[in-house]
């Protein structure tokens, strides 16, 4: 967000706070093997940097300075370069986030179909504003740009993972209750409208949850 820039990772002249010690900053043999496989996919090791940053974020939950340095050292790249990559892309967390990050889409399709209603509803339920994390460290809310699910707006994404489509306040309640119990939503397969006539519904027999396209709700707030 332009209006709420994250705290700087480095303050000039100050030693950055360390969150992980040298004992934490090691790859398992399996992870190292995966990384080697990625490096082989590209003409130079640079190409694998985004994948390794993803792996590091899965392992450490976020990317403080020492993790970024660790990734750079793994691939034998200049630390400044990896730092530059990590700070360019919004999905890499440069600050500690809640256990579950709710990325609520409010870009124009969602905006017109009640994305802000959902955002404000979640803010009220959790007692935080967008860009903040609950005191217990369970939830963060972010307002994000288009997630490419405009046909099933309003929608959100949970911690860079599953999408939750066709949101209503009731669906948000269920989602929050499930997440509190540690249950991540399953893969929601959204039926193609043309399939309803020709295939009698969704075409994937292995989908965990089937969502149909529904008439979008009337939005109460659009900002």
């Amino acid at each position: 967000m332009a209006s709420s820039s994250p705290e700087p990772l480095y303050v000039p002249g100050e030693e950055p706070a360390r969150h992980f010690g040298p004992d934490d900053l090691v790859w398992t043999a399996e992870e190292q093997q995966t990384i080697d496989g990625w490096v082989a996919q590209y003409p130079t090791a640079d190409g694998a940097v985004m994948k390794v940053l993803w792996l590091a974020q899965e392992k450490f939950a976020w990317l403080p300075a020492e993790v970024i340095e660790f990734v750079a050292d793994t691939l034998d790249l200049p630390r400044a370069k990896v730092f530059g990559v990590a700070t360019f892309y919004t999905q890499y967390y440069k600050q500690e986030m809640g256990k579950w990050v709710l990325d609520v889409c409010t870009c124009f399709s969602c905006q017109l179909c009640g994305g802000y209603d959902i955002l404000h509803y979640l803010e009220d339920q959790l007692g935080i504003k967008k860009g903040e994390t609950t005191q217990d460290g369970m939830f963060s809310i972010q307002e994000v740009e288009c997630l490419g699910a405009c046909g099933s707006a309003p929608m959100l994404q949970v911690t860079n993972g599953p999408y939750v489509h066709n949101l209503t306040p009731a669906k948000c309640d269920t989602l929050l209750a499930n997440l509190r119990e540690g249950k991540l939503p399953g893969f929601e397969s959204v039926t193609l409208p043309q399939d309803e006539a020709e295939l009698d519904g969704n075409r994937r027999s292995d989908a965990e949850v089937i969502e149909q396209y529904v008439t979008p709700p009337v939005s109460a707030t659009i900002e």
């Binding site: 996919q41 530059g84 890499y92 999408y163």
Partner: protein, 454 residues
Amino acid sequence: MEVPKINDGTSKAGDWRNYKRVLLPPVRDLHKLEVYEQNGGYSALRAVLNENKFDPKGLGEHVKQSGLRGRGGAAFNTGLKWSFMPPVDPDVPRFLCCNGDESEPGTFKDRQLFEYNPHLVIEGMVLANYAISAKACYIYIRGEYASWIDHFQKAVDEAYAKGYIGENILGSGFSTDIVVHKGAGAYICGEETSLMESLEGKRGYPRVKPPFPAQKGIWARPTTINNVETLACVPLIVNKGADWFAATGAEKHPGPVLYGISGHVNKPGVYEFPTGMLITDLIDEVCGGMRGGKKLKALVPGGSSTPVLTAEQCIGTTMDADSLREAGSMLGTAGMLVMDEDTNMVSFLRRITHFYHHESCGQCTPCREGTGWLEKLVTRIDEGEGNFRDLDLLLDLCDQIEGRTICALADAAAWPVRWTIRRFRPEFEAKCKPSTFAGADLGDGASTEPAPVS
């Protein structure tokens, strides 16, 4: 003599009510390799590699004849793009990039291909690699699509196991690889050169062109870049022929296309039809009409950067490049946003300007600063603090931004502002405070920094 109008109100999609889908045919579990094979999957690849249906050049020529135009937004002839690759030099590896970044607001079509028909995309990639003699295809999928990246990676692994990708494909001696690359949340990486920077593991700053990707693409090697849906059309062209493709839909912009329709319609979603569908047919018949029986007010035909059309402009207009150009917009990605009569166009534009401000990569000053000013000014108008002269200031700002940057993001940010104001000016004026004469400092705050955006 009067020039005949393109938009004479007739559909160019032919008998679309009985159209048989080909990109997403009605087959259950088509994403599974064995189901795809049972339904004629990889037969185009066999025909080309085993039965010598085409040599690489011939395949490119065939695709050129089919009239396939890129589905990512620019609608450039795909076969022609392939022909820009320099002559094959065995010492210089060549690459194909597949652009699955799909971050243009309003666009959600490629995701359906990853979910429901990934092997069609893979077959198209291998065929394209063959046509341009590429060593590997890197497919860049936006990081938000984590679930679909998993689906697609699984399909790639299956295809590797069956020998459709890798060394000596189907015993033909042709070898090529497919690498799935996961983005991490940056709209700008949908821009072709920015995508290449990102693939190389850098910040996604667009490159200055020339050199064009066909000369110096990823790792400074000759590279062709195509959209996911574009490549998915290639096996269909091989199987059914260029003539079939050219005869489907609008004459100058043929083929099947995935329309992603969102907003105030009863049945939003992705629909496959030929190009050249009447916008009114899409809304009234295909999508079951407007939500709540409301009237259409405005429509964005192809993603956030394409100029918004008024309801009058939509009448008689079809979804193909030429028709939309005449109507005053572009096809873009065919991701349509439908807005009903209750839509507040100022708030709508405010959200778009916020998007471009957030997503500007910051490399070029006119865009980095300009998108911020666009947002500040539109926000001020939306909050009722704007002045009449702000509207002309916004249009002037658009002039200062457009065409003055490395990539087209700045143009994409300026177009919606320019055309929404031009086409819905009374609505903007209704929100502005009157000012008695332009240019004077009336103590109305216009000469000072506007309040920060909340």
